[in-house]
């Protein structure tokens, strides 16, 4: 095994071009587990820890450019206002030790259906900036990023550089089912983002299908129901019947498996519960913000 230690982004791209099978390692919270347990013996480990720019972020007018290696701890502390859904999801990752090392870039690289960042990224809306030395930079919409169980849209010579996440224009929530509040791989997870500017909602589901997914039928139903009922304008409470239908459609979007963490039936049921709860929480926040600052 070789340990490659690029000092810059250019050097990292060159190393990945020369060794496309090299395994990138940032926080190590996934990669080192596989190496410690002899599940993986790559010829090359590509350490991204020295590429300082990957740990930087920038809040732009409409999006946050989040460097691939920004640890969850920093997202919780610094980006709660702009990326509330992702900050909530970050707080549910494992433990302080793991949150100090783990990052969204790593989560996307592993592309596990259970990755905690994914539902929040899907709900907020984002693009993944990837780059290769040969073909330069491209942006992959998050909806096209997850291609299979632990598979993503990266080409072998590409690395994840940053994630461009839409800044929140309304309330966002993330909720996750597990046996305790720490050190839990999600049994299932759900994220909801209200986008009052476009009067739409977006969702993200984790651990209940081969990849992280959106509950599109549920989104379309809720978009129409909120519009038809004039709820965005009136800020009235959403009736339970709408919440129940939204929950049912969210459950219907799932394609889960039975495994040691939970049964498929449980996951499908739980996603419905999380969908209804997050809708209630988000809509209450929206109503409060409307009461505080009514539309001019």
């Amino acid at each position: 095994m070789d340990f490659l230690r690029p000092a810059s982004w250019e050097e990292a791209l060159a190393a990945k071009a020369a060794h496309p099978a090299a395994v990138p390692i940032a926080g190590g919270t996934d990669v080192m587990v596989e190496i410690n347990f002899d599940l993986r013996r790559p010829d090359h480990l590509l350490d991204l820890g020295r590429v300082a720019e990957l740990r930087e972020w920038e809040v732009g007018e409409r999006t946050v450019r989040l460097g691939a290696s920004v640890p969850y701890t920093q997202i919780m502390a610094e980006l709660r206002h702009d990326l509330p859904g992702l900050a909530l999801a970050s707080h549910t990752v494992a433990s302080p030790q793991i949150r100090n090392r783990g990052s969204v870039g790593g989560n996307l690289g592993t592309a596990s259906p259970a990755g905690d960042a994914h539902p929040a990224l899907l709900a907020a809306g984002c693009e993944v900036e990837v780059e290769s030395r040969a073909r330069g930079s491209r942006r992959v919409p998050i909806d096209a990023f997850f291609t299979g169980v632990k598979r993503n849209a990266l080409a072998p010579d590409e690395l994840i550089r940053a994630v461009h996440i839409d800044r929140a224009d309304g309330p966002q929530q993330f909720s996750k089912v597990g046996t305790r509040n720490a050190m839990v791989i999600a049994v299932c997870a759900f994220s909801l983002a209200l986008h009052p500017e476009s009067r739409t909602v977006r969702t993200g589901i984790g651990s209940a299908a081969p990849t992280p997914i959106r509950a599109r039928a549920a989104e379309e139903f809720l978009n129409a129901a909120l519009e038809e009922g004039g709820f965005w304008d009136t800020g009235e409470a959403v009736p339970p019947s709408i919440g129940a239908r939204f929950a049912g459609l969210a459950s219907g979007a799932c394609n889960p498996i039975d495994d040691v963490r939970g049964s498929a039936a449980y996951r499908r049921h739980a996603i419905g519960v999380l969908a209804r709860r997050t809708l209630t929480w988000c809509w209450e926040s929206y109503r409060e913000s409307e009461r505080r600052a009514p539309c001019a």
């Binding site: 390692i25 926080g27 919270t29 080192m32 587990v33 350490d47 030790q97 793991i98 050190m183």
Partner: protein, 182 residues
């Protein structure tokens, strides 16, 4: 490969490190610092907790090569590094190597003893490093803060109540020390 790093204030160089080796293995098996414990090797238990460039991490999940040029603090270095009062009150030579501090305890270590927070002792080093890291950032943590800060450290004797007592005791003593010190 060769790895250079600072451990508990002292420059160290280790050779013949396997590229897939963890920092934990280097500390325990190559440097003779067995305080950090090897249990789960997957970041679940926190028994291998150290500070890497002042950030609390599981050393089993840090590749040895990633520690090149970095500063590592293990439980062996806690007496010299944790609380300002103990660091100032002793060792006027300024030599901060861990060997010269044998017998001396960091405030959090003394608090664990006084509160009876040690049972089998296996999880203790990781909990000490994690609790010390909390008190460095927050000298007066709430119970919820303590629980969250220690949520990545498992004690299979399940002596958690005494451990919480120890952290509260260390925080209270720190408060007293600060008041008396003006």
């Amino acid at each position: 490969m060769r790895v250079n790093l600072r451990v508990n204030g002292r420059p160290r160089q280790v050779d013949d490190v396997w590229e897939g080796e963890s920092l934990l293995y280097v500390l325990r098996e190559r440097m003779g610092l067995p305080g950090s414990k090897n249990a789960c090797e997957q970041g679940e238990c926190g028994s291998c907790s150290v500070r890497l460039d002042d950030v609390l991490v599981c050393s089993c999940l840090v590749a040895a090569g990633q520690a090149e040029g970095r500063e590592v603090l293990t439980v062996e270095g806690l007496p010299g590094a944790s609380a300002p009062s103990s660091a100032l009150s002793s060792d006027p030579s300024g030599d901060s190597s861990e060997d010269d501090r044998s017998g001396e305890l960091a405030p959090i270590q003394q608090a664990f003893i006084d509160a009876g927070a040690v049972q089998c002792g296996f999880c203790t080093p990781g909990l000490l490093v994690a609790a010390d890291d909390l008190l460095r950032r927050d000298s007066d943590p709430s119970d919820a803060d303590i629980r969250e800060a220690l949520s990545g450290n498992l004690c299979r004797c399940t002596g958690y109540e005494k451990i919480l007592d120890a952290v509260r005791l260390a925080a209270a003593r720190g408060e007293t020390r600060r008041r008396e010190g003006g």
